[in-house]
């Protein structure tokens, strides 16, 4: 189990940042991702593996209006 924006999400071996984004249906392009207080660049979303028990923040930059 991991935490994404304060809510639980089932974890699986090899889970990447991109997998989480897909699972949460986050389609907004301007995302900031942090895993346990370390930032992940947008170019590394496909390859960054998320460890079990991680605290993940996926922040949507404001935009809108």
């Amino acid at each position: 189990m991991i935490t994404v924006n304060g809510e639980g999400l089932d974890w699986h071996e090899g889970m990447t940042v991109r997998d989480i984004i897909r699972a949460r249906k986050f389609t907004f392009p301007m995302l900031a991702v942090w895993i346990d207080d370390s930032p992940v660049s947008r170019g590394a979303f496909d390859t960054t593996v998320v460890p079990d028990g991680a605290t993940v923040q996926i922040i949507h930059m404001i935009s809108g209006g």
Partner: protein, 724 residues
């Protein structure tokens, strides 16, 4: 033009040079008394009000009294750019801000537009323009910055609709060549602005590549209605003094450095970020749909299966590509997209081939999904006519969505609508209603143009519609229609829309992602902090003459990794750019904290101004129930599991409850949260429980002018003061 423009009155002046962003004088024109004046701008006025909307409100305060209503002759339309307006080195610096007592809200309203008007006004020698009085017959106000004269001319136009009048005036006040027309800008409204309270101010710039007049809009609040009530057909400004350093900045090099860096970001990153240069704000269409935020069928739903028909890719195909679409020189974000060679299908312009400005996201939603029409061609045509007739596309669309729901619920029928079938999605009949509004064809068309707040009363009194039911889904606050985001799932956005100075317009705070998706604002205090910072930060754009979009619709490549998430949302590097370019133009030495303080001064002044006009207290911060949550079973059932969980989150077990009972229980809980939010926000802003700025707060801000303090003292009550 069918007639000559006869001179009615003329006044000559000495154009004042721009120094460090200011001309240090403002222009007053009364079209009724035909009086003119140049008013000096003091150092104190610059320090306390900065410029733009700040100057507007200061001048408006001095012009009106507490009994002034929108159609009184002393009401003004005040227009100002601000000290950074006209900058060509940094993107997004061509905005003007207009302020007036609104016909929709009976209090101050400020509305902004791109285009060339404000920079040319500054070059003509003025930091602001006050339009007061009422003419006896249609007039044109001409500000000739080249010759140093102001004229009031008899309007020669039988047709005052915007495209007609704007094209003709660019021709009439230039030498007729394509190049020379760019030194002219026109503000106009249109016929519908005479018949409805949703009148917008169109502001032009001449597109030398397309060889047409483009129209941007200060759409909201009814400024166009006031313009036509004053019988002003158009305001024209002309100046040939365009240069690369309009503001005579203290340090042009800083402007160039910051500008060049942002130009590079836009060039390198826009295609991966918001695609502003190819599709503009409609890049949001499918994103908002995905997050249940696209208003559909009068905000009942936030998603629709036909989203692919209005996908951003569809609009990208409709917008002409490869043309730099900046609405002011130097804006490489270039989001002023347009549809070229569009053949009008209906109404008085049927068969004409035109360039249509937009549609932007708000119009795609208002004159599209919100009225159940998923046909871009229809939206483009509706957008064209809204601009041409001079009505705000947001209020028009949200107002029509309300009408559709009333029709669908049987509160109004064809008998009332003049035979129109106004169910959601009835594109042809909705287009016909736009045309009927423009000419005030019947009592129904006139009633619609009064806006949702008045429509509720008219439909109840005239057609027997149930007022209390309409209160639930009439999406307005403070008398003006909600803009195009579904607010019901974000407590912070209730505040972003409804705890505002002027009603539910998205230019104060857009917090849905921060609050609902990112979960960055878990407590009421967190939400209140955001509802303090963002409205004030965003207000700053309106003081200096900048567009907000280059702030956060593009971000530096490392923004997401160089800053903690809470800070990254503010785009710190761009905030620093703003501090730097303000200092570089004006020679002042502000910090990012002072930037917010500058806004807070004007924000609180405007709040007291509204109080002076009989508004501006807690009761005026109304919210319709649909903005808080579902009001009818179909809304709940569309996301049943989601709403059942929402009910659980407020401590109510949904099992065994009917849908109606669930709705009632959730609404009850959310109304309590709404009041809690109000308390937290008022406290953070330095207001009392009744939403009135305290004298202590005004003193802190240096805005304790005697006439301002006396308004507060007149209305403040001991029982509303916080104990601590």
């Amino acid at each position: 033009m069918s007639k000559e423009m006869k001179l009615i009155a003329e006044w000559t002046y000495k154009p004042s040079d721009v120094v460090r962003g200011y001309t240090n004088q403002t222009l007053f024109v009364n079209v009724g008394s035909r009086k003119f004046a140049a008013k000096p701008v003091s150092e104190e006025m610059k320090l306390k009000f900065t410029g733009g909307r700040g100057f507007d409100l200061k001048l408006l305060w001095d012009a009106v009294n507490e009994n002034t209503r929108w159609n009184d002759p002393e009401n003004e339309i005040v227009i100002s750019g601000g000290p950074l307006c006209g900058t060509t080195q940094y993107p997004g610096a061509g905005k003007f801000y207009a302020a007036f007592i609104s016909p929709l809200t009976d209090q101050t309203y400020d509305s902004n537009s791109g285009g060339h008007f404000a920079p040319l006004l500054k070059l003509a020698g003025f930091d602001a323009l006050e339009l007061q009085g009422k003419a006896e017959k249609d007039v044109i106000v001409f500000i000739d910055g080249d010759a140093g004269k102001i004229q009031i001319l008899e309007s020669p136009f039988d047709d005052v609709n915007a495209y007609t009048i704007t094209e003709a005036l660019h021709e009439a006040f230039s030498d007729g060549s394509n190049d020379d027309k760019r030194f002219v800008s026109v503000i106009s409204a249109g016929k519908a602005a005479e018949k409805s309270l949703w009148g917008c101010l169109n502001s032009s710039f001449w597109d030398i590549r397309r060889k047409v007049a483009r129209l941007k809009q200060a759409g909201r609040g009814g400024g166009g209605t006031i313009l036509r009530d004053k019988k002003i057909a158009a305001v024209v400004v002309r100046s040939h003094k365009l240069s690369g350093d309009i503001n005579k900045a203290v340090d042009v090099q800083v402007l160039q450095d910051r500008g060049n860096k942002l130009h590079r970001e836009i060039h390198d990153l826009d295609a991966q970020q918001c695609r502003m240069r190819t599709v503009g704000t409609p890049h949001l269409n499918e994103i908002m749909n995905e997050y249940h935020l696209l208003p559909t069928h009068n905000y009942k739903f936030g998603q629709h299966p036909d989203i692919d028909k209005i996908h951003s890719n569809v609009y990208e195909g409709l917008f002409t590509q490869g043309i730099p679409d900046g609405c002011w020189y130097g804006c490489s974000l270039a989001c002023a997209k347009a549809v070229d060679n569009y053949t009008i299908q209906t109404g008085p312009c049927k068969g004409k081939v035109v360039t249509v400005d937009g549609p932007e996201y708000e119009t795609v939603a208002s004159l599209g999904s919100n009225v159940g029409v998923f046909n871009p061609q229809w939206t483009i045509e509706a957008n064209f006519y809204a601009d041409h007739y001079g009505v705000d596309t947001i209020s028009l669309g949200t107002g029509f969505a309300f009408v559709c729901e009333c029709y669908e619920r049987g509160y109004i029928t064809k008998e009332h609508t003049g035979g129109l079938d106004l169910n959601f999605g009835r594109a042809d009949d909705l287009m016909e209603l736009i045309h009927r509004m423009a000419v005030g064809k019947d009592e129904f068309a006139l009633a619609v143009g009064q806006g949702i707040r008045k429509m509720k009363r008219i439909f109840a009194d005239r057609y027997g519609a149930p007022y209390e039911e309409m209160e639930k889904f009439g999406m307005e606050g403070q008398g003006i229609e909600v803009s195009e985001y579904v607010p019901k799932e974000s407590i912070a956005q209730w505040g972003g829309y409804f705890l505002t100075l002027k009603g539910p317009q998205h230019d104060e705070a857009w917090l849905i992602f921060m609050d609902r998706v990112n979960k960055q604002l878990p407590t009421f205090e967190d939400k209140a902090e955001a509802l303090h910072y963002f409205p004030n930060f965003r207000t700053w754009f309106s003081l200096v003459g900048l567009c907000k979009l280059p702030w956060n619709d593009i971000e530096p490549a490392d923004n997401a990794t160089a800053h903690r998430p809470q800070d990254a949302a503010k785009v710190p590097e761009h905030v620093q750019n703003y501090v730097d370019i303000f200092n570089a133009v004006t020679g002042r030495n502000i910090s990012k904290e002072e930037l917010v303080l500058m806004s807070e001064r004007v924000y609180n002044f405007q709040r007291v101004f509204n109080l002076r006009m009989g508004k501006g207290t807690r009761k005026d911060h109304n919210i319709p129930l649909r903005a808080l949550g579902p009001v009818y079973p179909d809304e709940w059932l569309a996301r049943e599991e989601y709403y059942d969980n929402e009910l659980k989150s407020v401590g109510v077990e949904p099992a065994g409850l009917s849908v109606e009972e669930k709705i009632a229980r959730l609404q009850e809980a959310r109304l309590t949260q709404w009041e809690q939010l109000k308390d937290a926000v008022y406290k953070r802003r330095g207001w009392d429980r009744n939403g009135i700025p305290t004298v202590r707060k005004l003193k802190e801000l240096g805005m304790d002018f005697p006439e301002v303090v006396s308004v507060v003292e007149k209305h403040a009550r001991p029982e509303d003061q916080w104990k601590d």
